[in-house]
């Protein structure tokens, strides 16, 4: 593996690569609960890397994925790192388009006030429309 690899760019040397210049719409679809499987944590790692590429990034939380951004997560008893504060740091990476599916909140008895970041709550029909406008959709 390359010695030159850095945390922030994930193995890409921007000076040598031709990846710069193109801006695509990247959407990350988060559908799974934050703990129980590693999908949510590793999804967040991809999101943070994508920020280094100056792409048009958005995140959707739906199904059990809405639990990823619920306030008041305590994970000490299961001996797993509570990574939920990282969602609050996304703003600092210029990742500000966070969408939540209204139906998923309703089904789980949650409201926007239960969430630890500012989001846009949208119907599944509205989300389908935004999804159709994307260049790259990665679902976890």
């Amino acid at each position: 593996m390359g010695e030159e690899m850095t945390e922030s760019t994930g193995g890409i040397d921007f000076e040598d690569e031709d990846a710069s210049g193109v801006i695509k719409k990247f959407m990350f679809v988060n559908r799974k609960a934050p703990y129980g499987t590693i999908y949510a944590l590793e999804s967040l790692e991809v999101v943070l890397i994508s920020a280094a590429f100056d792409q048009d990034v958005s995140l959707i939380f739906m199904d059990d994925g809405v639990y990823q951004i619920v306030k008041g997560q305590h994970t000490k008893a299961i001996d797993v790192k509570n990574f939920s504060p990282t969602y609050r740091a996304l703003e600092g990476y210029d990742i500000e388009k966070l969408y939540v599916e209204k139906e998923s909140l309703d089904q789980r008895g949650l409201t926007e006030d239960d969430l630890l970041v500012d989001v846009q709550v949208m119907s599944s029909a509205e989300i389908a429309k935004i999804m159709a406008e994307q260049d790259v959709v990665i679902s976890f």
């Binding site: 593996m1 390359g2 690899m5 760019t9 994930g10 193995g11 890409i12 690569e17 031709d18 990846a19 193109v22 695509k24 990247f26 590693i38 999908y39 590793e42 790692e45 991809v46 890397i49 994508s50 280094a52 590429f53 792409q55 260049d135 790259v136 959709v137 990665i138 679902s139 976890f140």
Partner: protein, 119 residues
């Protein structure tokens, strides 16, 4: 069309890696290009040289290596996901390389479509 592939599940337990293989093979046969396959989550197990299935079963790891060699596919394994799961240079199967998540984002930018195979 230029297709990038992302594989998020491991070998044998889950069909997604078989589906991905069949998809890549069919796409190439139809004249599409597959410049890069990116392995993430348990998908990194596709790159373990320690994999040793029964003789009457498909060998998923070697099957990838053969396809990649024949069609010049860049098969990239995420370093963070790999280290978590015990995949290192010393047990990395032929045809794969370990690198960072930037390779996935780059593939998404450069390809016409990024096709994700997962749970």
């Amino acid at each position: 069309m230029k297709l990038a592939i992302m594989i998020n599940e491991g070998v044998y337990q889950h069909q997604s890696t078989d589906s991905a293989y069949q998809f890549v093979k069919a796409a190439i046969e139809k004249g599409h290009e597959v410049p890069r396959i990116f392995f993430y989550h348990d998908g990194v197990y596709n790159a373990s040289s320690l994999t040793d299935p029964p003789k009457d079963d498909r060998n998923i790891v070697m099957r990838w290596a053969k396809l990649a060699h024949e069609h010049n596919i860049d098969m990239v394994v995420c370093v963070a996901a790999a280290l978590r799961r015990g995949i290192k240079d010393e047990n990395l199967a032929e045809g794969f390389r370990i690198s960072g998540l930037g390779q996935l984002v780059e593939a998404g930018i450069q390809a016409d479509r990024l096709v994700v195979f997962g749970d």
